[in-house]
Symmetry: C3
Subunit: 261 residues, 3 copies
């Protein structure tokens, strides 16, 4: 049974990703390389964290590399997070923390072992020069503690940092999918007792009010007005039947969502 | 020799596809996962059917998963189609039928065996919760008849549903590629006796008339006017030299193509 | 240890690529298929050559297929280039030459052996009908000399064809990445003695002048003005902090870059 390395980046399906794969296969040729997404909104650590957090748990074990790294070349550390259900590799900018929580975090290590990196490390592409080779060595059996010292403190990021004021919840859009569906950080568990099929309620997207119906599935939604449902990852999602909510409502990752029940 | 599972969706290269891959690899780690396309026009069962039909025959055997599924969560069945040259898995909405014909269909089964699905099945993502795990089990050796009962009748879809009125053929655009080439559902066999290199003829794209020349290859086409040729899948294709016919003529999947010879 | 076949095309992540993969896996099922990029600007042999040249060296060995092939169906030859550090397969239009140089070229062969191609060869898709099956056979152990005769002369392409007039260098943009960074063909070695962190200098992009600062990393760049740095592939790159230089400056592959020091 071969090891799995997953890759999540904001690089596009590009030569940058391919260079990382070349480096990895040079170290561990028998590994199974899986792309999670390379279409993360450029430099959106938030969306990267959300996408990784809601996807890596579907892999039984695996080394998960995340590179959404606007601070590359600056003082942020490269880290490895050892978890009960996998290993995470990437920058210490919050990107990996939500995934670490879901995989049951055990320890965080700062990557300092030069023998596990490419010989020459650039200022601009640690994905290729540090994260890819380190992930390959981990997939090959190197222990997390061999990458460097344990880190006591690291950059936190709570994807679910929303406000719940009872009748009003304030969150934000953390992912837009290819259909143009707007996926928020308001979790199902915070809403499911208060929202039922057919309920009408008010939302504000980027401050602009809409009246939406709550549905259980896409097929139940009538017309071409926005409606709400729980996404397949169990977050509140705003969708438009047979159209792109992102385009029609002019919304992108990071925009605010207020729900009034 | 490892089994092959191919994936065709309208999800984009996204976390949805990656979640399906995670589920599959958890069941059958040694499988070879191949993306056919995830850029099917959102909810276009027609384009999905065309893309699968013209691509899966290039794989010797394999389990082919198709998910273009606007009716997910509604009454349409999840099905498996056993064929002489492979197995198809997806929704019963016509998507799989043209491929089934090319792979020599043997039997259609309705997926009802809960043991082959994820423990919890969502209303919105059967790709992850039903089709991925079922495909993985099939790739691992589960027999198609183990997924459920044989279905007597299922949703038909004829990608090649064009009209041939002798001097006039009416079809539609079923695929637009990255170059902006417009691929129609008018098959070479219906036209090759009547079209020869250098012939000039009239077409109507979405009702708008153009005079085009028939060429054998892209390189022979002069200027920047639309021309016609047979695509590599043997359908009539409208192209513009060094430009995007889709953009310049403002045409998308589903638009009509009329040919006057 | 399984063989690697990499693919670089301007096809998009599409059914064309998938058909190539089906053909390859039918011949050599155990091969490791890696996508380098399928988002090469349509018909830009220059960008394809740059992307391959800066990526294939990261793979220890491998058969590298490149298909950016505006002349498909015309007189250009299909070729195989045997190198010390890998094998290249594609059209004789210059696409493979810069990579061949970096992999230490040994010999060029014209592909004529019909037994290594698909039974029927189309006029429009040699990627599927010639390059894919030939690459598969090479990955399986067929020797380069079995594909056909040695070619004495082939189409050259120098990605680094820039002019150095001392205080003024004239090159061009050869790649635009997903961030909108503009990567030029001006190599670091031509500039590093003359450019230092914090230096201000003039550039002309497509004839339009900008004053830019030279930085070592992305994080050092202030504001939202264009700045310059060396790309991770060691070429001069023009970038805009947290924005797309390609969009904001309206530049694409092939546009000129003049540097005045």
């Amino acid at each position: 049974m071969s090891a799995i390395i997953t890759l999540t980046t904001d690089f596009g399906h590009s030569k940058y990703v391919a260079a990382m794969k070349g480096v990895i296969l040079g170290i561990v040729p028998e590994v199974n390389l899986i792309d999670i997404s390379h279409e993360i909104t450029s430099q959106s650590v938030l969306e990267g964290a959300f996408v990784m957090m809601t996807t890596v748990p579907f892999f039984k074990n695996g080394v998960h590399v995340g590179v959404v790294d606007p601070g590359v070349g600056g003082p942020r550390n490269p880290i490895v997070i050892e978890c009960e259900k996998g290993i995470l590799v990437g920058p210490d900018n919050g990107l990996l923390m939500p995934s670490a929580k879901r995989l049951n975090m055990l320890a965080v290590y700062k990557i300092t072992n030069r023998e596990l990196m490419l010989e020459s490390v650039s200022h601009t592409f640690h994905g290729r020069d540090i994260f890819a080779p380190v992930a390959a060595h981990l997939a090959k059996g190197v222990k997390p503690e061999e990458v460097g010292e344990v880190v006591g403190q690291c950059q936190l990021l709570d994807v679910e940092a929303y406000k719940d004021g009872g009748g009003m919840l304030e969150g934000q859009i953390v992912h837009v999918d290819k259909f143009g569906n707007l996926i928020s950080n308001l979790p199902r568990r915070a809403l499911e007792d208060r929202l039922h099929e057919g309920d009408e309620f008010q939302i504000l997207l980027n401050g602009k009010p809409y009246s939406v119906r709550f549905e259980n599935t896409y097929v139940e939604a009538p017309g071409d007005e926005p409606f709400a449902l729980f996404s397949s990852s169990d977050y509140l999602e705003i969708s438009i039947p047979m159209g792109s909510a992102a385009e029609k409502l002019d919304i992108r990752v990071g925009d605010s969502l207020e729900v009034r029940l």
